[in-house]
Point group: C2
């Protein structure tokens, strides 16, 4: 893994939020030698990034910025991806590799197919698993992707050189890159990310509907704070995710609700054995997860 | 608030786990001048606490230790409280104040009533909201109760001097003490603590039932780790809590499941407005909670 892979390449980052901003800062910190151009709508933020030294230049004109790009990274909210693709379609050079960072890959593939008529060989769908309940350029950091996983979901016709470029790009930023199918990605993420966010949003919402919600929150402790941290995430982003990955989320949500009813029955029947075995199994699984999680950060 | 309130008093801590151990360490750290005697079954742990200087002495004979105590703090798992009360009943002196630390107060009141025939005037039910996913004496610390809330649920006949002693005791340890009714305590805790724990146990259990659970955990990120932290809590303790506070937990669980179905419908119907308004409302509530939580720790 060397910086030379993208040295002197023109990398255009479309969208300078948490992800785009962190990519820009990371590329500078790693001294990759890439020429990084940011595209966005908010000129104050673009200028801030330029002042920070996070980018080489910026533009509010996406077609102008991308027409001679070597790599375009689309880092905008999921539902804005299609709009960006439409602007890119007429100007993309045949050598330009394009990737994205959206959380739901099935929908991106649909959008690309709709706009391009097929998925171009040099389009490599990607998803950095590096979210945060904070958003925007101000929350970005050079090491956001260090030791994080990035999942790529190349298609059968994806050009290998494009796949490799995008893989190397993320590895330069410190990430561990895995490739899998689009469908599998969306199912795994529904279970590990989309469902937990839904549960946290629902819990806070349920409690805040109670007449005495302020008092209830007053007695909540650290466990509640951690449990609901993800409910502070960007509503627009999560709206887009559930609009895009509804089917996979509902499948795992239904399994979860079934599990809740099992526990409800065990509590109602004071079924001591069932409660103990469930809690022991859950603690064991969670402790195994924690070990894996700690191990991968070493 | 001065240390003199319990200076020279004999304080017996029954059960030297996370809570009991932290009380002992806290009383020493605050130089309260109390004579702290620990009662437990595991002599190695008791000896360790003596070596640590956390207690003045220890005993494995509860009746012997408690018969001339000024304050007895019962800090054993919920379902063991009744057993302890039975042992205490014949030997308690009339001046001895008794309190407990169990998470469900309704059940403690039932146990006390069953054992004593009524709730004695000098019994002050209490609950320090200072849990952790770690348990046992080894996880205890002198500052566990600093800036934490302790809820007392005195009854109509509770002697005011007993109530005050227990309140002062917890304040000495750095806690903020609030009093409320038994029923209200159990409802609030069902919503803010028991339900979230149930949801986390259920999530980890649902995922671990999936064939590819190891792979699923592999791609889980920080949000999942935080969301499920409480699923690593002590299974026995949580078993006891759900056995004891089943009705209140089921009430709020049913409201929660209703909320999940509302969100399921919104996702299925791609009801953009409903999703956005729920997420915005949840984020707002959660951010307000976070402010309250930060403020109370200052």
């Amino acid at each position: 893994m060397t910086a030379s892979v993208i040295e002197n390449l023109k990398v255009v980052i479309v969208g300078l939020g948490l992800i785009g901003g962190s990519i820009a800062r990371g590329l500078v910190a790693k001294q990759t030698g890439a020429r990084v151009v940011a595209v966005g709508r908010n000129e104050a933020i673009l200028q801030k990034a330029l002042d920070d030294g996070a980018i080489s230049s910026y533009s509010t004109d996406i077609t102008q910025a991308c027409k001679d790009a070597d790599l375009v990274v689309i880092a905008v909210p999921s539902l804005t991806v299609k709009h960006i693709l439409k602007e890119l379609q007429p100007v993309l050079a045949s050598h330009t590799v394009v990737t994205d960072a959206a959380s739901v890959k099935g929908e991106v593939i649909e959008s690309v197919t709709e706009v391009f008529g097929c998925v171009p060989e040099n389009f490599v769908p990607g998803h950095p698993i590096a979210g945060s309940e904070h958003s925007g350029y101000s929350a970005s950091s050079a090491d956001l992707f260090e030791h994080k996983k990035v999942i790529l979901t190349p298609l059968e016709n994806t050009r290998q050189s494009a796949h490799e470029l995008v893989q190397n790009f993320w590895e330069l930023l410190g990430a561990q890159v895995i490739s899998m199918s689009v469908k599998h990605h969306d199912e795994v993420l529904a279970a590990t990310s989309h469902l937990p966010h839904l549960l946290a949003f629902a819990l806070v919402d349920t409690l805040s509907r109670q007449g005495e919600s302020e008092e209830i929150f007053r007695y909540a402790a650290g466990g509640f704070r951690d449990f609901t941290r993800i409910a502070s995430s960007d509503p627009q982003m999560w709206h887009d995710i559930f609009m895009a990955n509804g089917d996979a989320t509902i499948t795992v949500l239904d399994e979860y609700i079934e599990g809740l009813y099992r526990m409800r029955t065990a509590i109602k029947d004071k079924n001591s054995d069932e409660l103990m075995s469930t809690f022991i199994r859950a603690k064991k699984s969670r402790d195994i997860f924690l070990e894996m999680f700690s191990a991968k950060r070493k």
